[in-house]
């Protein structure tokens, strides 16, 4: 299982699992896109609590979902990024376009506009 999704107060919370490489992100991308479309959701939180490895495929996954959510006029945030991913996050510039929160709850509140 590389992904667990749940909807909390109209926000799709996608809890990523395992290692985010090119092999893993293809399935995750499909799953998130499908859920967003089926449930008509435009608010997304990506949780990195269980991700300890990520390469540039993960950057592509995050920026790709941001494009989807922006196209739907929604809001997106990230939460619980581990220390081991810090360098790649800094290099990617992701944090210039997306907010990162220490907890899932804060990220959910942010994308709900609270």
């Amino acid at each position: 299982m590389s992904l667990q999704t749940t909807t909390i107060s109209g926000v799709l919370v996608a809890r990523l699992q395992g290692e985010l490489d090119h092999h893993a992100v293809e399935k995750i991308r499909e799953d998130i896109e499908q859920t967003v479309q089926q449930e008509g959701i435009n608010r997304l939180v990506l949780s990195f609590a269980n991700i300890h490895f990520m390469d540039s495929s993960g950057i592509g996954l995050v920026l790709g979902r941001l494009r989807t959510i922006q196209a739907l006029g929604g809001k997106m945030a990230l939460c619980e990024v581990q220390n081991s991913l810090q360098k790649i996050f800094e290099m990617s510039g992701i944090l210039k376009v997306l907010k990162l929160f220490p907890s899932e709850q804060e990220a959910i509140e942010y994308v709900r506009g609270e």
Partner: protein, 157 residues
């Protein structure tokens, strides 16, 4: 380190592996390299950086070298002193313009949701990176990184 790139030193230990270009092998490749390199007693950060660089190189061979068709990827990983040298080689389409490919955010496959950060990340996560490529022949990426906290830059040259 330059001597190492030019293969003028005697390696103390090495492994070679070859595997088909399926994406399931991306994690195998980086984990195999990481466990081999563990004998240099690297820090966790060094190991993560090396795994990331290997993952990027193997992914590039699969997506760009072989364009998601079948081909063989070869990796050689050798140790000298506290330094690891890794070559990742494919017989794929090759790179027309290596300098352009090395530009941050450049991607030849924008439709694949690639970030264009792969080579930039590889370059910053190792001490040296070389790319040799011949269109139609394949690509060989060489990564050199010193491990175990002894940065080459701190040594007398």
């Amino acid at each position: 380190m330059t001597e190492y790139l030019q293969e003028k030193v005697h390696v103390q230990n090495y492994i070679r592996m070859q595997f088909p270009s399926c994406s399931a092998n991306e994690s195998f490749a980086r984990v195999a390299v990481a466990s081999f390199v563990a004998q240099l007693d690297p820090t966790l950060e060094e190991l993560t950086e090396l795994k990331t660089a290997v993952s990027e190189a193997v992914t590039n061979a699969i997506i760009h070298g072989y364009e998601n068709s079948f081909g063989e990827i070869r990796i050689e990983c050798s140790l000298y002193d506290q330094t690891v040298k890794i070559t990742i080689e494919d017989d794929g389409v090759g790179i027309e313009d290596v300098d352009m490919a090395r530009q941050p955010l450049y991607t030849s496959r924008p439709e694949l949701e690639r970030s264009g950060m792969g080579l930039t990340i590889m370059e910053s996560f190792v001490d040296r990176m070389e790319i040799q490529s011949e269109p139609g022949q394949g690509t060989r990426v060489t990564l050199v990184k010193s491990m175990g906290g002894q940065k080459t830059s701190q040594r007398p040259s």
